[in-house]
């Protein structure tokens, strides 16, 4: 293993939690996400010679994952997103946390109902802070598509969360 190779591997390791989050957003199920993550890492290690230094490794990995997901998802076309329970939340008690958990739960539920392409773009732009150009590159779509998907995803999230908040209020009264 060369020193460059090692540096590359170490950076890859440091990205794992974020890559797993993207995998889960794409795959919608933790077992499929785990498979996707492993396959993408294998692919990256096989092809890291083609990785251009100066490029962002995270964007490159997101692109590999997206491509791999497109290649394999035909096999599980139509698979529904399962309830996401794979994220730990900080804090176990206290009223603030309980209140935060209600809208967090609503946000998760709303996210799960979104189509996969909208989950992917939300993850890359909102959670990962990628620019539209970087997200477009990772997802292999034009920037205009990123814009429209993102605005639909956000509108969907906000509508579903408002509905959840409303239902919650009604239950309390």
């Amino acid at each position: 293993m060369t020193k460059d190779d090692l540096v590359f591997r170490q950076e890859l390791v440091s990205l794992l939690p974020r890559l797993r989050r993207f995998a889960l957003a794409l795959a919608g199920r933790s077992d499929l996400a785990e498979d996707l993550l492993h396959s993408a890492v294998e692919r990256a290690l096989r092809n890291w010679g083609t990785f251009q230094t100066g490029r962002r490794l995270d964007s490159w990995m997101f692109k590999i994952m997206q491509n791999h997901w497109i290649d394999t998802r035909r096999a599980q076309a139509g698979a529904r997103m399962e309830a996401i329970d794979d994220f730990e939340l900080p804090g176990e008690d206290g009223r603030d946390v309980v209140e935060a958990r209600d809208d967090v739960r609503a946000a998760r539920a709303a996210f799960e109902t979104l189509p996969e392409d909208q989950r992917a773009v939300l993850t890359l732009v909102v959670l990962e802070d990628l620019s539209y150009a970087e997200a477009a590159d990772a997802l292999n779509v034009p920037i205009g598509t990123i814009m429209s998907r993102l605005s639909r995803a956000r509108a969907g999230m906000s509508a579903l969360m408002q509905r959840a908040a409303f239902a919650h209020l009604r239950n309390e009264n």
């Binding site: 020193k3 190779d5 390791v13 974020r18 797993r20 290690l45 946000a107 814009m147 509108a155």
Partner: protein, 222 residues
């Protein structure tokens, strides 16, 4: 009239100066648009809270495989974590161990401080010690109850991975050590490192997750 696409792009700072100014002018006069912007911003914030980046014990396993130069991880891990032939002894450990030079192994006898950290520190936490940055990457329990932990010591850009197993009286013995910075020579992925061999020599092992580690530490590994 502002459409959601413009508001959304404004939120992400993706508009050019001209369109940004246009949106800002509209937001000042159009209360509905301003409220929509706030709703989208709030939804973004909750989304970030709902999906924090959390490190999982699974990352340690994958990380160890990546750093070990193991391209075919899935199958290799299956072998490693599932029942590995119970080949305790066989001279495997000692045989592989010779690969580590004497001077290196001498410097990695488990020090008192390392033993204390092995007894008390969760995987994934880093402690700076006189000997370098110390991080446990993996905890394993063998079928016979023996507990072993792999840690990484990094100093001057050089990392050494060490596998140590707990012995009587809160102390630890080193089973194998390998320099993580291999020189310029190419090592094929299929080469087993001394650590692989040492882990296999433990027989059937299970990797402890963070909550199991926490419990073990609380019970002083008994």
């Amino acid at each position: 009239m502002l459409n959601d696409e413009l508001i959304s792009a404004y939120l992400d700072g993706e508009l050019d100066a001209e369109r940004r100014a246009l949106v800002e002018r509209q937001l000042r006069t159009d209360k509905g648009a301003a409220a929509r912007l706030e709703r989208l911003r709030a939804a973004d914030n909750v989304l970030k809270q709902a999906f924090p980046v959390t490190e999982k014990p699974k990352d340690d396993l994958l990380a160890a495989a990546i750093l070990a130069g193991d391209v075919h991880m899935k199958s290799r891990w299956a072998t490693r974590v599932a029942a590995i032939a119970a080949a305790i002894a066989l001279g495997l450990v000692v045989g592989q161990f010779v690969r580590v030079s004497d001077s290196e192994s001498a410097s990695f006898a488990i020090s008192e401080q390392q033993a204390r950290l092995l007894n008390t520190q969760l995987s994934g936490r880093v402690t700076n010690t006189q000997e370098g940055a110390f991080e446990v990457v993996l905890s394993l329990r063998a079928d016979d109850g023996e507990v072993c932990r792999q840690f990484r010591l990094t100093r001057d850009m050089q990392s050494t991975d060490v596998l140590a197993c707990r012995t009587e009286g809160d102390s630890w013995r080193m089973l194998a050590a390998v320099s993580a910075v291999v020189t310029e020579s190419y090592v094929p992925a299929s080469v087993r490192t001394p650590l692989d061999a040492a882990i296999e020599s433990l027989g059937t092992v299970e990797a402890l997750d963070l909550s199991q580690e926490r419990a073990q530490i609380a019970h002083r590994w008994h």
